[in-house]
Symmetry: C2
Subunit: 122 residues, 2 copies
DNA sequence: AAATAGACTTGCAAATAAGAAGTGACTATC
DNA sequence: GATAGTCACTTCTTATTTGCAAGTCTATTT
């Protein structure tokens, strides 16, 4: 990891296993879908909401907050009056690319009727 | 994918995205932890239960049933009287190795205090 | 002044998870 | 041969999380 960046600190770790702890951050139905959208170039709340899976708005707000909290994304304003924000990848976020790439590959190969038609920076 | 194996068929797909569909199979707090154990050589219900994260027994039963249902694991008896089963990787299950490997790497690099001390066939 | 837009927040019912206890098949022990 | 023990679950109850609809807040556009 980039030495200027701090590692994520999780309290009440359920074990010392990196996989278990990673799953406590990204192991749910929506988090990696938001990350997929970020890797696909989406940046704003509205763009995430517009994705075909129709993430509930309260869940989206919660996931963005968590991802920012863990330092995987950063919230950066792109205009004042009214304030509008973008959510952008940090280095930690960027390093999730291989995880998403492998999930994409696994799904494409093993789940009938799926199509990887989004272009991503993976 | 091995051509002798059928692709997973999901009903009510939330989108055509391979990532979204893959997450509907493995995107939760426990499923990939069970898979980690399988890759670490664990085979029986009791061994999965004994892992340090203490998976609730009803959840374990549910996840094993789902994984078998999707053809990611197979339930194979290793003795009669009393019947005792093992859960073993199918080809579809085996092909999850890269996903787990990348999650393991990400967690190890980015989460403080984690240690990849289990040996896995990844 | 009223309507519109983007980014959320709130409230509540429904679904899922957690935790503890119980069951059934069989084996080993007293 | 009754009693205790093991393994692999199942059931029950409570707690937590999700999903959906509606509402709020700030600011702009008409």
């Amino acid at each position: 990891m980039d030495r200027t960046e701090k590692a994520i600190k999780i309290d009440n770790m359920r074990s010392l296993c990196p996989i278990a702890n990673a799953l406590d951050i990204v192991g749910d139905k929506w988090t990696l879908l938001v990350m997929r959208d970020v890797f696909a170039g989406k940046r704003t709340y509205g763009e995430f909401q517009a994705s075909p899976e129709s993430i509930p708005t309260n869940i989206l707000a919660d996931r963005l907050k968590r991802l920012v909290g863990y330092g995987v994304l950063q919230k950066i304003p792109y205009q004042q009056r009214p304030v509008r924000n973008t959510y952008q990848l940090t280095d930690k976020g960027h390093s999730l690319a291989p995880v998403i790439r492998e999930i994409l590959q696994w799904g494409t190969k093993n789940i009938a009727g799926t199509a990887a038609n989004i272009k991503m920076d993976l």
